[in-house]
Symmetry: C2
Subunit: 136 residues, 2 copies
């Protein structure tokens, strides 16, 4: 019944810095935003949500859609899917942009993962589907 | 270069309760686990990671793979993709299993979202790709 992750969420106090990273550096198109609350990015077949927890934790008002509150503190994690032949060019781009690569290694079964931090300190991994036995 | 979200992460203190929810109730196959640290579930073309933040926040040891630490406190959010014709059967299943539906509504442009809480209090949404203009 469940066919994938449609949305993954991380939290950031500074949404402008999140824009600079996810759109400015990673080229993910911004598809929605509410000033001071969230900014959402298209991420291929999924959507990456970046929320200011202080705002997303507020319950919806009486005239708003009943979107349940949530919000976390501390470094979250997301892994973005990149075809394996694009991992080298991505690493080059990250380094050129001055983004520190925190880790870059191969798992025992072969697939490679590259890890950086987004401006809020979330752990952002890049890996191909083969990490989990998936194509592409 | 980025084609999707390969992994989304939420945090839970009680990994057994997470298993009961994500595998026992939602039928997501468990694909990896480290006792007391994490349990991972296949979620169609993606993977849902559930970590105990107290463990995933520990830096890797000198002989371990250099997996960067992360870990958040508070309710996170993930949206799992369900074809729109499966949302009614899913709601029935959730109700039969005694899972409270926190919210079930249509967005102004039509697509439906159903929200529940996982045992750790994370906000879990179910929606079809059409929510974001995607097929399926």
């Amino acid at each position: 019944m469940i066919t994938g992750v449609l949305e993954a969420a991380v939290y950031a106090e500074d949404l402008e810095a999140a824009r600079g990273f996810y759109t400015g550096m990673l080229d993910l198109p911004e598809i929605a935003a509410v000033e001071g609350r969230h900014v959402f990015f298209r991420c291929g077949e999924s959507v990456l949500l970046v929320f200011r927890a202080a705002a997303s934790r507020q319950p919806p008002g009486p005239d708003a859609l009943p979107v349940p509150p949530h919000g976390a503190e501390g470094a979250g994690h997301v892994c973005l899917r990149v075809a394996k032949e694009h991992l080298d060019p991505l690493a080059t781009r990250l380094e050129s942009a001055g983004v520190a690569i925190e880790s870059d290694f191969r798992w025992p079964h072969g697939p490679r993962s590259i890890y950086v931090r987004d401006p809020a300190g979330n752990s952002v991994e890049f890996a191909a589907g083969e990490l989990w036995g998936l194509d592409g």
